[in-house]
């Protein structure tokens, strides 16, 4: 009887010690849910959701402060993926928000006065330039957030929608008639 109690409590103590050590050693610093939500968000950093970037929005969703339907660049598909991740029902995009076609910002170089205001506004440092020097947007890094448009004092930045070309073309979803109505009618 005493042996059994001793053996079981020793095992319990050893396992408890291992678990306690593992809890300290493998502690997860950040909330993993925030990381997961952040991975689903499109990282445009546009702030249309009302939060200053994708990470703060992810944190707000994780805390339950924000709804999942506030991200226009993610679109319906983004909402669906968030809903799947969080185990909630998908819902339509929030009021006043609209999905726009993917576009990138272009600076009209002849009107740019080199004020650097857009450089300060760009959330991903995609604008190159210096004071009183012409600025240019690195197209590959532009997320199309439109945050550089309002600060420009001479309105020299405009958005250009991406057009389909050989490089970006995708095979379409196959479409075929389920019933040949004309044939049936002829018969």
């Amino acid at each position: 009887m005493l042996d059994a109690i001793l053996i079981l409590s020793t095992i319990g103590l050893i396992l408890g010690a291992i678990l306690g050590w593992a809890a300290v050693r493998y502690r997860v610093q950040d909330d993993p849910l925030v990381e997961k939500i952040d991975a689903v968000l499109p990282q445009t950093q546009c702030g249309q959701c009302g939060y200053p970037g994708c990470k703060p929005y992810a944190e707000a969703i994780a805390k339950g402060e924000a709804d999942i339907n506030l991200c226009p660049p993610g679109g319906a598909e983004g909402i669906e993926r968030l809903a799947e991740l969080l185990g909630v029902e998908p819902k339509p995009l929030g009021e006043g928000l609209e999905v726009k076609a993917k576009a990138i910002a272009i600076i009209d170089e002849s009107t740019c006065i080199g004020c650097t205001l857009c450089i300060q506004a760009c959330p991903v440092d995609a604008i190159v330039g210096a004071a009183k020097q012409m600025h240019v947007i690195v197209a590959e890094q532009c997320t199309g957030c439109e945050l550089c448009l309002p600060p420009c004092p001479v309105d020299c930045i405009h958005m250009v929608t991406e057009t389909e070309n050989i490089q970006t073309w995708k095979w379409p979803y196959p479409v075929f008639a389920l019933k040949s109505v004309a044939e049936k009618a002829a018969v």
């Binding site: 990282q43 994708c54 995609a126 389909e164 070309n165 050989i166 095979w171 196959p174």
Partner: protein, 564 residues
């Protein structure tokens, strides 16, 4: 004779080879215009290195390869560059692509310096990088990358692919019959470049003349390591992995290439082009194209890259009255051509004009009955009926778990499906969607990293500024100017200020004295406009005045400048 292995699945579609393989390869007359697409190969398009109006010689490089996977393009004949613009090209999308248009001058002059034959391996590789070679079997992967040093350690075996399993196409057949010697010479050049020990040439048994021609060419002492291997006529024998298995019994691992099992493969057309490039210094500016189907004189033509497809069809006697629509490539893997104006590019191996007898309109698509015929026909042992289900439901994760990316899009499943479901179209759709998503994900990850770095940078700058201010404030309290020093600077400052004030007053007086001569009797709106301008000017003057005063003050007490 090596042992042969049977890969799973495969089909026997009607061959239709005799329509076009009976006549020798014909050359086309020189045309007035050539339209050379910049994107003819897998990877990034070439970058134009000529400008509109420039004169070019035949074989001159007109597009340089971009970094990474890309190939050069060359002028097909001598003439003048008349445009660099988007034109219809032979692409499954039917979209226009950037092309260089060359107006021929009729002289057909080639670049004059014919280089000597290169024996040195490095020199040959360097030469090939500028020759614009790409796999002519249809995949158009840049050849110089396949041959690049450092990648050939474990390729003891070189296979030349002359299977040409796709129905209707006979360009490789005719090439092997007519240029067997050059093909084997090219194969030996490749062998030296990649250090292979043995060469196998796989040819489907339905091409006895080509087999005989190559055997004859291989029948010398210096070519004892070359084996000509007839393989059974079974579609898709010409697939790289299928031919490798048939000849060696080696199975390419899922997601891998034939190089993973020690086999490097080149199309016979590529070997021929490589031989021309190294022995004769000719870049890839022409290729053999089969023109067949509903044309009056089907056959094979040696077409310059950039020849409009309409000109090739005209050379083949034009369309018959039954013709409707045109395919680029064969009936199994080809795609519909959107415009006859599109030019021949490096990937165009066949122009197949359809007629309603051989190409009836697509049958009614019925629901999948899960008969499994597609799985039995699949040469890669996939389960197309399962993949179709998930691709149709846009469930891309699931369709990938059925090894979607091992699908070679051969079309066997489409061919055998009793419900006529366009399975390959679904797989292509799923593949391109997955690629697009991966690209989007990469872009999002890059944006996240950049945004995080920016946040970090702003924070750092803030800290640095705060530290600087703290240091300045500390320095100020330590070495505060003694009260005695302040008045010493004062008289000088007040004197300067007085001079400035006097000057400003004089200027104001002088301005008041000036009466504009053209401001009398103006309409009310003009007067208002002038008064607005004047008020702006006054505020500007005031700000200039203020800044001068401020500068004076700062000059008199430099310690204040440092303070926030």
């Amino acid at each position: 004779m090596t042992a042969l292995f049977n890969f799973p699945g495969g089909i026997h579609p009607p061959e239709h080879k005799t329509e076009s393989n009976g006549t020798p390869i014909r050359a086309l007359p020189l045309l007035p215009h050539y339209v050379v697409p910049l994107s003819q190969h897998l990877g990034k398009p070439a970058k134009p290195c000529v400008s509109v109006g420039e004169r070019v010689s035949g074989g001159q490089m007109i597009g340089t390869p971009e970094a990474g996977v890309s190939a050069a393009i060359h002028a097909p004949t001598s003439g003048r560059v008349s445009a660099i613009e988007a034109r219809p090209i032979a692409h499954s999308s039917g979209l226009n692509g950037l092309c260089i248009v060359i107006d021929s001058d009729g002289e057909d002059a080639s670049i004059t310096t014919l280089p000597p034959p290169h024996e040195d391996r490095e020199a040959q590789l360097a030469r090939l990088r500028t020759m614009g070679l790409a796999g002519l079997g249809g995949a158009v992967f840049p050849t110089h990358i396949k041959l690049a040093p450092g990648r050939h350690e474990n390729w003891p075996l070189l296979i030349l692919n002359g299977a040409e399993c796709e129905p209707w196409i006979t360009c490789d057949d005719r090439l092997m019959r007519e240029h067997a010697e050059a093909i084997l010479d090219g194969a030996q050049l490749i062998q030296n470049l990649i250090g292979a020990g043995q060469i196998l040439v796989g040819i489907e048994a339905n091409k006895p003349e080509a087999i005989a021609a190559l055997r004859h060419a291989a029948d010398t002492a210096s070519r004892s390591h070359i084996t000509i291997c007839p393989v059974p006529t079974l579609y898709p024998m010409g697939g790289g992995k299928q031919l490798t298995y048939a000849l060696t019994g080696r199975t390419t691992p899922s997601g891998g290439r034939t190089t993973d099992v020690g086999v490097q493969m080149f199309n016979v057309g590529t070997a021929y082009a490589l031989q021309r490039a190294i022995r004769h210094g000719e870049p890839l500016t022409r290729r053999i194209v089969t023109v067949t189907g509903a044309v009056n004189t089907p056959g094979n033509y040696e077409a310059r890259i950039g020849t409009p497809i309409a000109a090739l069809i005209a050379a083949a006697g034009g369309r018959t009255s039954a013709a409707h629509g045109t395919l680029i490539g064969g009936p199994m893997m080809g795609f519909d051509l959107a415009s006859d104006e599109a030019p021949v590019s490096k990937m165009v191996n066949c122009i197949l004009v359809k007629d309603s007898q051989n190409f009836p309109p697509p049958a009614q698509v019925l629901p999948c009955i899960r008969c499994g015929a597609c799985a039995r026909a699949c040469p890669v042992s996939l389960q197309p009926f399962e993949m179709h289900w998930y691709a149709r439901a846009h469930d891309f994760g699931k369709v990938q778990s059925f090894k979607l990316f091992d699908c070679i899009e051969c079309g066997c499943c489409d061919y055998v499906c009793p419900s006529h479901i366009p399975l390959v179209s679904f797989f292509r759709y799923a593949k391109s969607e997955i690629w697009a998503r991966e690209q989007e994900k990469d872009a999002a990850d890059r944006a996240r990293v950049r945004h995080e770095f920016r946040s970090f940078r702003l924070e750092r700058e803030k800290m640095e500024k705060a530290a600087k201010h703290a240091a300045a404030a500390k320095a100020k309290t330590e070495s505060a100017p003694t009260p005695a020093a302040m008045p010493a600077a004062d008289p000088e400052a007040t004197r300067k200020k007085a001079i400035l004030a006097a000057a400003m007053a004089r200027a104001t007086e002088a301005r008041k004295a000036i009466v504009p001569k053209n401001t009398e009797g103006l309409p009310a709106d003009k007067v208002r406009e002038i008064s607005e301008i004047e008020s702006r000017r006054a505020s500007l003057l005031q700000s200039v005045h203020d800044s001068i005063v401020k500068e004076e003050e700062e000059e008199s007490s430099p310690a204040q400048k440092e303070a926030p």
